[in-house]
């Protein structure tokens, strides 16, 4: 097997579009998302899986992109905060966060929103306990947790209304 400190080619779907990238073997997904793809919504804060600011959705699951090597996502699909709004319209989760006042300094918000997205995709009508469990790995140092939890409830209601209308 050939070993190399050279960049490695990967193919990855980012927010719905296929990308061919050359990534260094020691770069994390978070670094590549920010520095190579220029998607700065994903934040790097603790860099060790404690704070959740770098949360993205990888093949349908919320993960800390600071603890995933970029080379490991070859062939995978990634959703970042930039992939939520469609045609200039915010996603219902984003609207709910704004309306419920769940954004203070905003640094944790992309991670909170992505954890919420992963939760609601799997569990459209979560109990409060399930919301707390899904967001336990996302820290908000403005401590706006109550409003964030309210926003998740509100987002679930909005998405339910949207899908009813679509029917």
């Amino acid at each position: 097997m050939q070993l190399t400190m050279e960049p490695i080619s990967i193919t990855v779907e980012v927010n719905g579009s296929a990308q061919r990238l050359k990534v260094m073997p020691y770069h994390t997904l978070a670094v590549v998302i920010r520095e190579q793809l220029g998607l700065l919504g994903t934040k790097i804060s603790c860099g060790e899986g404690e704070c959740g600011a770098c949360t993205v959705i990888l093949d349908g699951k919320a993960v800390n992109s600071c603890m995933v090597l970029a080379v490991e996502v070859d062939g995978c699909s990634i959703l970042t905060i930039e992939g939520l709004a469609k045609n200039g319209e915010l996603h219902p989760i984003q609207t709910a966060f704004i309306e419920e006042g769940a954004v203070q300094c905003g640094f944790c918000t992309p991670g909170m929103v992505m954890s919420t997205k992963a939760l609601l995709d799997e569990t459209p009508e979560p109990e409060e306990e399930q919301i707390r469990e899904a967001l336990a790995g996302n820290l908000c140092r403005c401590t706006g947790y109550h409003r964030i939890i309210n926003a998740v409830h509100a987002a679930a209601r909005k998405i339910a209304v949207h899908s009813d209308e679509a029917k």
Binding site: M1, I8, E48, G49, K61, A62, M67, V68, R132, G137
Partner: protein, 290 residues
Amino acid sequence: MKRFTYAEPKNLAEVVSLIRQYGASASILAGGTDLINHISHGKLSPEIVVSLRSVAELSKTVAENSEGLEIGALATLTTVAEHPLVRQRYTALAEAAVKVGSKQIRNRGTVVGNVCNASPAADTVTALLLFDPVLCILGEGGRRKVALSEFLLGPGQTTLAAAELVENIFLPTPIKPTASTYLKLSRREGVDLATVGVATSVDLSGNVRIALGAVGPKAFRAFSAELQLKGAPRDAARLERAIRLAQDAANPISDLRASSEYRCEMVGVLLRQALQQAMARCEREEGRCS
């Protein structure tokens, strides 16, 4: 982060040849939730990271066979926590797996990785000890099987050699229907290591098993306390003696999470609660148990 090269072997033979070639300067990557931190903190500085993600023979799932349950090397904590048979037959393990880290960590981190990391506070290790787990280890000389209790040596220490990897963990089907529970005491509910972890099981004949985590250099079974309760898990006087025996078996350190004395006290509190829960579950599921 320190620089390293990366390899993604497609089969076990390639993995073994790589880790044999690089020895201690190779690190095996499964979920990465411990490894990436160890590298970025400088605790490990591998020349090469060998990813297991494309190894055809390694399983991402939990598989049942006639003798028991096999947890694949790549089965995540989420996969194990949500598996119906784990929840039903090895309840304490499901409860422990869901208490590790955060959702994001459980979606990447593996049970086998949690075991290999050999933290004295590893939730899944404490729970697994109830179920006679056997690790299947692959090395250049072939396969060997080792009981989890013998695999663990101390904090971060196992009998795994540099050129070996764990292929799976096997849990034999309990001889008698068993109800179990895992209780974790931590400073906050989410994303914290166990200050004390207690796993207990009770079976149809009143056989009790007790495993303690974060109160010694490795998680362990409290055999003398188990013996005290054998056949009479509801006997109040025996329970008090068993709690004292479990506390005597614990040898916790004092650290930022708690003092040694506090941990010993909490072994008693948690053991009492865990036994009550396991027995209540046993009674509720009369068809399966008691």
